[in-house]
Symmetry: C2
Subunit: 399 residues, 2 copies
């Protein structure tokens, strides 16, 4: 069976960890599997390279930045290959050039257009472990690119899609939990989760998988398996539909995102053009605003939304460029608490149960948003963890 | 004018030095030159990568070693390019893949077969500084290779040959001297030296240029210019023939190579086969033996040669594999003192003057070798620096 595995930067951060990963791969080979491995840059390599570049230029040229950053993954593939060969396992490393991982021209955030899987298949036939540099690609002109955050996961899923295999993603986290185990000690590890729920959870602060790779996995129906590279514990499968025999949960997980502020634009003219411009300029700056809520009075519109506190300054500056007289007010800090579950669609009354938890605990949310598979509230920091715990109890997410 | 420049690892070892090099290049651009720059890996990068690889395997696989080591130069080209662009100079970096620097398949010691100069010329036409990763190449299969010691110099000379331009080699040494200035404080910097003399000097311990790049420069008649990247001092031109107007020196330089041992194989059978085998096995191990001297008696042959003390063990082990009864004896430590000069060919009596210096100073050499343009003697460590000084005086090499 062909297996595609991806190991993150912390899984290969030093000599011992590289050897640990090499031994894990060796076991799979001895089982008779054919293994393709995608690796990220070791530990803090990428951050160190970025720091070096920024010491030379405040705005390093994006093409040259990608030339620089792709070296991190190349170091990893070579070292892992050296370790495997030393264990007596046939292995060969490849960078994006060698596998013709074609991407768009968007330096530092390129998207994969195609991968030539022939070279991979040929090497697998020769019983070689194929070790691939994640995160990187090459344009039609032969320029090197990088795929942006979570890029190595994307490389792994794209290769698994090409090879028609599943994709195992190893990191320092041993699976996807119903909630953050640091806050909810009895949070349960999920054996299975749907792509949709995993996407919502990851966009709501559960940082195991990058939403981009889950989207790609969903698109090509690549089964994902997330587990820890440091233990043999069973991880979590991310798949299209939960197995029939499994009791279908209404809610898959509850998350908390900290340090949000609520921004309110008061007394905007009752004219959609200004609001359009505001959304446009924030989108241009790649700022994700969230939990948008609008109140319309006779003459005016009041617009509120939540954002990470860090973005507050940028947002104010951007909006002031449209009209410096816009009245902006802030409230904060808040935390955002959410529940997620594709089961909510077919299970009415989830919202009612959610709001009963709020009322029973005397918590009044600042903002509320709901979708078919998610409910989020913005609440004061002093109430947020309490609310999370109560929701975990209400929806049986504890162990 | 197209200028090819090469900067060594110590010239770009940190942020300040990279900026210094960027500013040097900027000046040339402002003069109207078109510049191609070849760089090595920063400072100790290559050594650190080798150490990392050796911590994973005693004998890291050569293909993977080259995959690893080529990252060093790629980091340098990206950073230098970032620095130049930040100074307002158009620049673009290229690795071996992108310039199609085709080499043989000999990992860790590949030889350049061809370079596609079209991409370089196209970028120069667009007024871009072209920054090229030295030391690396790519095989016909698309595997990455490295060129071995002095590889970046070789890349630079090969590109200069392709472009029909001269080649400037910047390092932490400001030119080629008649002798080692650390021992001979009044050693003169040469304005010009021939390829042949530079080759002999570099093979005799003057470590400014790698003989391989000088050989290549000689083959394609590429004028070399060696100077320091840390000063504006005039350097040394390495060329085919000294300018006519220049007083032609008989001897261009005097060198010292330290820590040699004399190895003697006693009572070898008077049968060339054994000696052939000895030379063969040492050549296989890439051991350069030197100052070979043979004495034939009625029944036997005694063979002496000099080598660097470090190689003594390897040589003994290699020779014992041919015949464990071979009688090997050592004498050491010695230093090797040499004079070099193409002018010796047309100027009889140089050897006589050399031996008079020996006799006048009561120095008896252990071994002597001479060629058309060089005389070398192996002498005791206590006499070596004195001899060097006397030779500098005798042949007017002092300032």
């Amino acid at each position: 069976m062909i297996v595609v595995q991806k190991y993150g930067g912390s899984s290969i951060a030093d000599k011992e960890r590289i050897l640990n990963v090499a031994n894990k791969i060796k076991k799979r080979i001895e089982k008779g599997d054919k293994v393709v491995v995608i690796v990220s840059a070791m530990g803090n390599t990428t951050d160190n390279l970025i720091r070096l570049a920024k010491s030379l230029s405040k705005n390093p040229h994006p093409r040259e930045m990608d030339m620089l950053l792709t070296t991190g993954e190349q170091i990893s593939i070579a070292l892992l290959s050296i370790a495997l060969i030393d264990l007596g396992i046939k292995a060969k490393s490849f960078n994006a050039f060698q596998l013709n991982i074609k991407t768009t021209h968007d330096f530092t955030k390129a998207r994969i257009k195609d991968i030539d899987s022939n070279k991979i298949l040929k090497e697998l036939e020769l019983n070689s472990v194929v070790i691939v540099a994640g995160f990187q690609g090459v344009t039609e002109n032969g320029d090197l690119t990088t795929l942006g955050r979570g890029g190595s996961d994307t490389t792994a899923v794209a290769i698994a899609a090409k090879l028609g295999s599943h994709c195992e993603i190893y990191s320092d986290v041993d699976g996807i939990y119903t909630s953050d185990p640091r806050i909810i000690p009895n949070a349960k590890k999920l054996k299975y989760i749907t792509y949709d729920d995993a996407l919502e959870l990851s966009s709501l602060g559960a940082k195991v998988l990058h939403s981009r790779s889950v989207e790609l996995a969903k698109k090509y129906n690549v089964k994902l398996y997330c587990a820890s590279s440091f233990s043999e514990k069973e991880g979590t499968w991310v798949i299209d539909k939960l197995p029939e025999w499994l009791e279908q949960p209404v809610v898959s997980g509850a998350t908390i995102e900290k340090d949000q502020v609520k921004i309110t634009l008061n007394n905007l003219p009752k004219d959609n053009k200004v609001i359009e411009k505001i959304f446009e300029i924030l989108s241009d700056k790649k700022i994700n605003i969230d939990m948008i809520s609008m109140i319309t009075s006779n003459k005016n519109i009041h617009l509120s939304f939540s954002v990470l506190n860090d973005l507050r300054k940028t947002i104010e500056e951007s909006i002031k460029t449209i009209d410096s007289s816009i009245d902006i007010s802030y409230e904060g800090m808040f935390d955002k608490v959410s529940i997620v579950g594709v089961g909510m669609k077919s299970s009415p009354g989830v919202a009612a149960r959610f709001f009963k938890v709020l009322t029973d605990n005397g918590i009044i949310p600042e903002l509320v948003t709901t979708s078919e598979i998610k409910i989020s509230v913005l609440v004061s920091k002093k109430n947020s963890e309490k609310l999370l715990k109560k929701l975990v109890d209400e929806f049986s997410l504890g162990g």
